[in-house]
Symmetry: C2
Subunit: 203 residues, 2 copies
Amino acid sequence: MTEESDIRFYFDFSSPYSYLASERIDDLAAKYRRKVKWRPVMLGAAIKATSGLPLLLSVPLKGEYSKRDIERSARFMGVPYTFPPKFPLATLIAARGYYWLHGQDCDKAREFAHAVFRAYWVDGRDIGELPVVLEIADKLGIDRAAFAAAIATPEIKDRVKQETDAAIAGGMFGAPFFSVDGERFWGADRLPQIDRWLETGGF
Amino acid sequence: MTEESDIRFYFDFSSPYSYLASERIDDLAAKYRRKVKWRPVMLGAAIKATSGLPLLLSVPLKGEYSKRDIERSARFMGVPYTFPPKFPLATLIAARGYYWLHGQDCDKAREFAHAVFRAYWVDGRDIGELPVVLEIADKLGIDRAAFAAAIATPEIKDRVKQETDAAIAGGMFGAPFFSVDGERFWGADRLPQIDRWLETGGF
């Protein structure tokens, strides 16, 4: 196994296709007895670094199509989805919280990530606001005060930046982005290719 | 049947994902006893109209990824593919030739379109050059002189522009682009969704 023999899932909580992928990637990997490393990043920084444009904002025709495509893709994949009242929004608080939890309990961090995604993409909650994120954490038995204190530390703040920089250095320019044993895939619509890649070891 | 009860496939001969889709869309539609209307367009005009960026040219990281993704997608779909020595190139001659042929013989026009796509994306021929396109036509039994004369007429020149404008008015901003009984799909990777759409009448 080389250093790159792993599956990484880079995402931003505000990315709808990331949410769709988040509902399927672990089950897909589990078919091959593999686990996935989840890595929330700041997609805005990645887009700036690679000179891209936010899909839903900058290109009128494309934006209209994209909204429709996301809804249809959600139905195609069988994932509950509702376009949220506020879009886009800042996901720094949620990403910081994820890495703090991850340092203590990977499973709890994963549970938190799912809860954040669903709060935004199913229930339309404003996950950019601290009280909302604290409420999500609280429901999972996470201490609100400890959470609030942790995400204000320089270590956790730096961690999100470092993970984002590392992802960009690794080739990420959009989300969801996957590194599967070193092979890169972009988009929830590449899950079928990832499936075959895991099945065959590359094609 | 409404005016929109048809399947349209908008493409540019210089679009690699359009080529991949061209090798599968007719067979997919045939499963449901449906036919596809092929419509070559000038993708550059569409991108300009919608403020997008050429995928392989403007975004460094994305461009590198895209080349890899196209190759992998071709293998995933089982379609022969080689990145051509010249990219991009002008596809106006081929598009004009297509519409001229289409006015006389739809099947011959389809055969010509496949031959042009394959000459570029398998054999690496410069399909932007008239002699190359005439040679492709000649092999299909099409008269070279008649072809060369036809593509220089104002009617045929206008036709390509009209088809491109109509496609943009219909929502196209990239290629391949599909209109399936009024529902729009963008990308060769949406063929599975098109398949289900045709099977279920919408989902």
